[in-house]
């Protein structure tokens, strides 16, 4: 009570959505993308062997990036448009 909540949304696409069996998660209290990956690999071990990159608020990030409050995080398997 009184502590600032740290919530964010995780969108999943393509093969990742298929493996997560959902295209959207609501998470909280995870400060950065590397911590998020650790959480996801534990909860959904089937995505460990799947390549994906991460975007935070629609910008792809590299390495460990902070996840702001209310962020829109997305899990992006390799692109295959065109």
């Amino acid at each position: 009570m009184g502590s600032v909540e740290h919530k964010f949304k995780v969108l999943a696409f393509g093969m990742i959505a298929e493996k997560l069996k959902t295209s959207e998660l609501e998470l909280e209290g995870i400060p950065s993308t590397e911590v998020l990956k650790g959480y996801l690999f534990q909860q959904y071990p089937e995505i460990k062997d799947t390549k994906f990159s991460i975007s935070v608020n629609r910008k792809q990030v590299k390495g460990d990036s902070p996840i702001p409050n209310e962020a829109e995080v997305a899990l992006l398997p390799p692109f295959s448009g065109g």
């Binding site: 629609r58 997305a74 398997p77 692109f79 448009g81 065109g82």
Partner: protein, 148 residues
Amino acid sequence: MEKQRKPKNIFVEGPISPEKIAQSIANHSSKTDIGGHSIFLGQVRADEKEGGKVRAIAYSAYEEMALEKAFEIREEIFAKYPLTCMHIYHSLGEVKVGEICLFVFTSSKHRKAAIESCEELVERIKKELPVWGQELVDNEKAVWKENQ
């Protein structure tokens, strides 16, 4: 006065028809400073996969991010080449083999700018837009594509 460019929708539901392409070409006949148009069309191939032949590709996208990225790419290409016009259309949903899923269209006074920018746009679209194609084969098994 500088022309203000805003993000435009690039996505169309289902295949891109030859008539749409013709209409887009015809729309440029009033721009009499254009000397050359370059067009790239992506068409769905009936590749052989484990379990059968591809019969269609189902496209999905992270639309908001794709539109922001497409806008960024547009601005960069407009800054780099002396172009009169640039258009990008990408399918969402199911596109059958033989149908068009990508339409990239650049126009300029002299041909070089149109040709080079079109090629660069196609490469960037394939590499940078969060769009995914799932190949649907005869036996209903689906295979996620991966560019390059």
